[in-house]
Amino acid sequence: MAALAPNTGNRLPNSVLAMIIFVVAEIMFFAALMSAHTIARATVPGGVWPPAGQPRLPVERTAFNTAILLLSGALLFIANRRTRAGYEKARPYLAGAIATGIAFVLLQGVEWVALLREGLTMTSSAHGAFFYLIVGAHALHAVVAIAVLTAIYFPMRRGTLAPSTFAATQVFWYFVVLLWPVIYLRVYL
């Protein structure tokens, strides 16, 4: 297991640097979406958002879902700390992070179904378009990140996971986790 310990000295692995650069680009992508959303909110007649006649977003349920996603990030952080004692010790925490991540996406799906039944669609209003675009883009990132976390679970179980791969995956998942509270504050509240 000692052979699996990070042996990169102070050098940042290329995969981690590439992931950080990718995340910086993604931050700009979401900033553009939220900038447009902020301006749309400011220009709505009467200054009331969501506009009159539009379904209200489930603030309380999503707050619970936000806590689940933050728990997922915390579990991955603990998994990283536990790798010092070996991948065997870290694996249950990684599995927990994957499970809570899946729970987040599933609860989001349930929420979307309820909102679609209430009549909120991409084409029903600017409110619906921004909601599905921003939350949907985040959900897509969450699904991809969960797929990557699941993909690294098996090499971790075999003990063949490269530390740099684990580190790069963490960067992406932390981005997904930390972005969500910002989206929640801007879109739901």
Binding site: N10, L12, A31, A32, S35, T38, I39, A42, T43
Partner: protein
């Protein structure tokens, strides 16, 4: 010589155009009547202009600190 005269005319015309307030309507922050909305436009313009600079400079500084 002819191209120099054209350049002078162009510069004078460009400087004159900047004095015409109507040209400012091209800026979205100046286009809206409600001061509150104009503030939102201005705020978002500042955020979207500063964010990439902050991100790139922050990453560069972090890498420099890490490797120095």
């Amino acid at each position: 010589m002819r191209s120099l005269n054209f350049a002078k005319c162009f510069l004078v015309a460009a400087a004159g155009a900047s004095l015409i307030p109507g040209a400012a309507w091209a800026c979205p922050a100046c286009m809206v009547g409600d001061p509150k909305t104009a503030g939102t436009y201005f705020g978002m313009t500042v955020v979207m202009s500063a964010l990439p600079i902050l991100l790139v400079c922050g990453l560069g500084y972090w890498l420099w600190r890490r490797h120095s």
